[in-house]
């Protein structure tokens, strides 16, 4: 009916955008910053942070405000993206040396990474919804992943598991679904932008 459609249009015009502080969590090197960059590139045309093959590249919480995203049916979300350092139970500076850093650089990186993990845990109290980014080529039954998901459930924070790196041959999204059968899991490649439409749909479903 044209009148109903018109009222809907007016309603949408004056409806306040839903504001969400969206945390991006996960173990190191799962692709959290790559996903944050992908979302930022898709909607505001600029990246959020640098990425590296050396773990713990993100050692401080990085934020980007006013990322307004739109669904196919006209709904909008006003996101503040909170990209957090990877959560780990161990940090060995010698691992960084093996990746090519000098001893001095490696020690600084390790010290900063420990502070980053603490900061990421503290931020759990300040986010409205969370994307848990897991590397789909790795075994998902890991105590760090279980701890992150357990904390989100205990705090009643809605979350979506993002199985990243589906462009790689060894990726196995089914294994992640089987490990966490009660959670919604979406497979993507943040690096190449594969399956991002489905990802945005799942994101809208999560926060509604």
């Amino acid at each position: 009916m044209p009148i109903r459609r018109f009222l809907k249009f007016i309603n949408r015009l004056f409806k306040k955008k839903k504001q969400i502080r969206l945390g991006i969590y996960g173990p190191p090197n799962g692709g959290k910053t790559t996903l944050a960059n992908r979302i930022c590139l898709d909607w505001i045309g600029e990246e959020l942070g640098s990425v590296s093959h050396i773990p713990h590249e993100t050692r401080r919480v990085q934020m980007k405000e006013k990322i307004v995203i739109q669904s196919g049916d006209g709904k909008t979300l006003d996101l503040t993206i909170v990209d957090t350092p990877g959560i780990a139970t161990k940090i060995d500076y010698e691992d960084f040396v093996r990746k090519g850093l000098s001893k001095k650089e490696a020690r600084v990186r390790a010290r900063e990474a420990t502070r980053g993990v603490i900061e990421a845990i503290k931020w759990l109290d300040n986010v409205d919804a969370v994307l848990v980014v897991l590397d789909a080529t790795k075994n998902p039954v890991d105590q760090v992943n279980i701890t992150i998901l357990g904390n989100l459930e205990a705090r009643k924070i809605p979350f979506l598991i993002v199985a990243n790196k589906i462009d790689l041959k060894k990726a196995n999204v089914t294994r992640i679904r089987e490990a966490f059968p009660n959670a919604k899991v979406i497979g993507i490649s943040a690096k190449y932008g594969h399956n991002m439409d489905k990802f945005y749909e799942a994101l809208f479903d999560m926060v509604e």
Partner: protein
């Protein structure tokens, strides 16, 4: 020559009272066994505490928890059993199960099934 490994049993209540004592044991190279399944919030507390303790010698931990046996949850009178467990947890904060924490310098990896924990040294 055979290698000696120390396993220290720490009651849950003691862990809650004095977390530093747990880390003293881990830094000495002991594996710590707690007589309860700690909660996810307590796990994140332990991770944060681990990060505060990391230095050139102490590289972190491996941690794993194991739940009440699944068969017991399914068995006869399971509702009564689970209700009693919930009451006990509400009163003591203690959930049935075990938690194992080891220094990362000693334990390379932990893997678990619903009933077993594997330690790779």
């Amino acid at each position: 020559m055979s290698k000696k490994i120390s396993i220290k049993l720490v009651p849950y209540e003691e862990m809650r009272r004095d977390m530093d004592a747990v880390f003293n044991e881990l830094k000495k190279g002991s594996i710590v066994l707690i007589d309860a399944k700690i909660s996810p919030e307590e796990e994140s507390e332990i991770i944060a505490k681990t990060m505060e303790n990391i230095d050139l010698r102490f590289k972190g931990i491996e941690i794993s928890t194991i739940d009440v046996k699944k068969e017991e949850k399914k068995g006869k009178g399971s509702k009564i059993f689970l209700t009693l467990e919930k009451i006990k947890k509400a009163l003591t904060g203690k959930e049935r199960g075990i938690t194992i924490i080891g220094p990362a310098s000693l334990i390379k990896k932990m893997e678990k099934t619903p009933e077993e924990i594997y330690l790779y040294m």
